[in-house]
Symmetry: C2
Subunit: 577 residues, 2 copies
């Protein structure tokens, strides 16, 4: 037999560490089988019911009420436990940090540590936005651990912060590592050259831990809260974080992690990342990309892979491919289009896939997306990739791998178009193919380039040679002939398509998808000064900061107006006057 007794303490605020400690102490009392100490939300009452702790007298408790339930062997033990609550709370209090020296407000805390750049907020959600707002008023960056904050509040806080060059990590930001000091929950990770921005708490912890395990280290790890990459929030914090890390000289590799993001917000963030001269590893859960890598941006699909890749990239140093310095002055102002002549479908497809990352629209007789189908295969429009192996070019005539005739005629035609700047040629060697394609292509390339030059234009010709050194055509001799004719030769289709994509994009900047960052710049000092912080909420965070050698003060916070929402609203209105 057992008996369950409960008690409601209306409007009694304790932070949840204290609730937990009280619950434990109660459980250890003689005759007590189980105990529950929680704030009286419906969810918590359901959990009590599941543990068979929902005493009838506590069903009426509300969200601002502390609820204490004891399951004991008998009435006497239960009653004794309930009566011991005040003593236990008092005992805990006297054993804690000297509370007399604790400031009662953010303002006085800020006076105590004028160097504090950060405010950590972990009070219950419905009070947290107010505290964060006060912190921003004091020009502090905010680490907002609290969850259960409205989306409207999040948006408003982040925009207020961004307007002032401040950053709000969160809400529901469980973790960050700023200048070597963990905020909230954080692992002890070696310092190094990898910087993180994460819309995911355990994701950030997993990736930073694995980076450490793989022998790498980090500069900064910034949290954004799990909703930052939604349409509504628009990645304000992630964009600030990315900008900070791009400017941070210690950060050589950047990692972006998020819970399932909005596709368009994620796309936009990737565009921004591409404008940074550092490798960026992206792992947005469930965000799939058709390519693994675009320029400096690598896409990973697991935290493990993310960590491994980041460590690999960081150990190479900042090894982004050198930004080609295209000499755009060579081209006449009208020249901007790319024309590609392939003799096989899949190489053309792969090129189209790569080009999607550089040009808004590429036409083709075999497009990836039907809306870019050429009206007439015989006439190119804007940037065009042509598969000369398609039926309209091969029925009743020889395949272009065997017969260059069609390609030579088309090359001449494209080269004479004053809007064309780049010609891409797929050259496939091997058994069955033309015995010496370069002998026919090289003169045509020379003639095309000379013709353009005579008309005051410059023609970039890029050839992709598919073959081996054992092929009957002698691949190296083929390459030499093409290069002697002025072509730039690649053996990787991928690399060739990326190259012409970057060039075509540079020639037609209107085609480039650019992203604007209209946020005020956050000072790098936010990350690079010794950590000094004000903590409002969970005391364990203060202890943890102190353990890590940071300067920290705990605010002795109580719900305003004892949690009375009407009164809170009046106070808020008075304050803003």
């Amino acid at each position: 037999m057992s008996i369950t007794k409960g008690e409601i303490r209306s409007g009694a605020y304790y932070d949840s560490v204290i609730l937990m400690q009280l619950q434990r102490s109660l459980t250890e009392l003689p005759g007590v089988i189980d105990a529950g100490v929680i704030m009286g939300t419906d969810a918590n009452k359901d959990l009590l019911a599941q543990s068979d702790l929902l005493a009838p007298e506590i069903k009426a408790a509300g969200v601002d009420d502390m609820v204490i339930v004891i399951k004991a062997d008998d009435e006497t033990a239960a009653q004794a436990a309930l009566e011991g609550v005040d003593d236990l709370l008092a005992a805990r209090r006297s054993g804690g940090i000297e509370e007399d020296y604790r400031p009662k407000s953010l303002e006085s805390a800020a006076q105590m540590i004028p160097d504090a750049q950060w405010v950590l907020v972990s009070v219950p959600g419905r009070y947290a936005a107010g505290v964060a707002r006060s912190a921003l008023d004091l020009d502090k960056h905010v680490f907002l651990y609290s969850d259960n904050i409205t989306l409207m509040d999040e948006i408003e806080l982040k925009h207020t912060a961004a307007g002032k060059g401040l950053i709000v990590m969160g809400p529901d930001c469980g973790t960050a590592i700023v200048n070597g000091v963990g905020l909230g929950f954080a692992n002890k990770v070696r310092r190094g050259s990898i910087g993180l921005v994460a819309g995911s708490g355990t994701g950030l912890q997993q990736v930073t831990s694995r980076i450490h395990q793989f022998g790498g280290g980090i500069t900064q790890a910034l949290g954004t809260g799990g909703r930052d990459l939604t349409e509504q929030v628009g990645a304000v914090t992630a964009r600030q974080g990315l900008d900070l890390l791009s400017r941070d000289p210690q950060t050589q590799v950047i990692v972006l992690v998020s819970k399932p993001p909005s596709k368009s917000v994620a796309d936009e963030l990737v565009q921004t990342a591409r404008q940074i001269g550092k490798p960026v590893v992206v792992d947005f859960i469930g965000y799939s990309t058709a390519l693994r890598k675009v320029d400096n941006v690598y896409f990973a699909t697991s935290f493990d892979e993310t960590a491994e890749l980041a460590v690999k990239l960081s150990s190479k140093g900042a090894a982004v491919e050198p930004d080609e310095q295209f000499n755009l002055d060579l081209f006449s102002p009208d020249q901007r289009y790319l024309r590609g002549l392939f003799s096989g479908g899949t190489l053309a497809y792969e090129a189209l896939l790569v080009l999607e990352n550089y040009l808004p629209a590429v036409y083709s007789n075999a497009p990836l997306d039907k809306k870019y189908r050429l009206a007439d295969s015989l006439v190119s429009q804007e940037p065009t990739i042509l598969d000369l192996g398609e039926a309209e070019f091969t029925v009743g005539r020889l395949h272009p791998m065997l017969d260059n005739d069609l390609r030579l005629r088309r090359l001449e035609m494209e080269a004479s178009d004053p809007a064309v700047a780049v010609i891409l040629l797929g050259v496939v060697l091997g058994f069955g193919a033309h015995p010496d394609p370069a002998s026919e292509l090289a003169p045509a390339i020379i003639s095309a380039r000379t013709g353009a030059e005579k008309s005051g234009r410059y023609l970039e010709v890029v050839a992709i040679v598919t073959g081996t050194d054992e092929d009957p055509q002698d691949m190296h001799a083929q390459i030499e002939q093409l290069e002697a004719a002025g072509a730039r030769v690649f053996t990787s289709n991928d690399a060739a398509a990326s190259f012409v994509g970057r060039l075509a994009q540079a020639l037609d900047p209107a085609a480039a998808r650019t992203s604007q960052n209209n946020l005020a710049e956050v000072d790098l000092q936010a990350l690079n000064q010794p950590m000094a912080a004000i903590n409002v909420g969970l005391e364990t965070f203060t202890e943890s900061l102190a353990d890590q050698g940071a300067q920290v003060v705990q605010v002795e916070w109580r719900p305003p107006a004892s949690g009375d929402e009407k009164l809170m609203a009046i106070l808020e209105r008075m304050k803003s006057k």
Copy 2:
């Protein structure tokens, strides 16, 4: 001034190599500026027009008519050229292979080379299905280079072949390498341990060439034709190819390449690939996956990456992770479900993403797909992954990283469910987190496992520990405690989720997505005997095979009934009687 003159030769069939050679010879005649020799399709006439070669007298030409056009300085030169056509054709003929010894039919060719297992078909599309059908009647495998074959013919041919244990590569199959011999267009690639199946001609050439360039080599490279992975064809050839390579002892790594495939057909093929005990690298253009690797299957997004990965895997030998031998007898027959208890959202998300590959439905309070949302977070259903960091568990109580109470209670509850076989626990260390989670979890794990054992069940407990050796909790000591309690510990979330996914799938085979291969097995001899082939169509393919040392005979093919479609239909009907 120039003059253009043309001539139609009705019903005159020449293969397109001859057309090209004739065109070249004509261009070289005195006074000739340009020439065109083609079959009279509309597309070809458009191309003539574009080169200013569409003489009025040839506009009436049809698809079975050879068209000859000359652009010359004057009437005399043009006329002389046209009159020279017969001599040029005759000269070419006498210079070629002794045609007297050429068989006039497939049947007599088959008698000449009884060992021939392969028939290469490159006659015009509208005749090609008939030739392929005859080859299948003779129990030959078919390399079907011709394009412009109807989808219905393709389906019918492939099913006929598959029913007889024969394979049809194509239609529109440009390339293959069988037992070291290139069919159609193919590069000379080092022999090695990588086998390919490709629904893409230039893709196959690019990947095999890059494999060679990266120092690797191939066993076989089988083409399927570009439509094989469509819904209608259902990857008949790709499935046969995959099955052949899975049985081929020389092949240690398999590569699958395709033009943009049907998503469902590609998914199915990937499922099949997962049942093969060899690493498989998949690059289906535009087929994006949320994960980079599932068991033995690696997803690449470019031909370069595909080749690089295949070479890397092949140099390791067949280094698939050993198939765990789960001792399923330990479990009671009712045990089959997985229950995961995470203290953070993103690790839970990643686990869900991985589990999608093993289990048809995993429920969660934070699911990737809303339809798998738990009706009640307090009650698990079937396989369930729970994020205890979600608001319903954290408002007004401490976060599960700090307070194990909720998790311990839930662990006990899940462990007592007779349908539960595996429990997955996310344990996050670090600053701010519980100072010694293992001290509370380990006893609970022991109790859960002992309780299950008493009821005749076996409980697999898997823990993912996120942390570093510098964390305040001492990660190694935490891991030891958990292991001592009987938990299997991972530090990679990815690896842990894959492990429990495989186990849960093994326990509930009904949940596993299996794929049936209802095709008759193709004898490995098709790939492993010295190449002997019959070529019907482009003579250059015969030359190329002979150059590569293969046994080959060219059939002296002419369109049946001189291309008269009515007559052809009658002949076809007579034949089938």
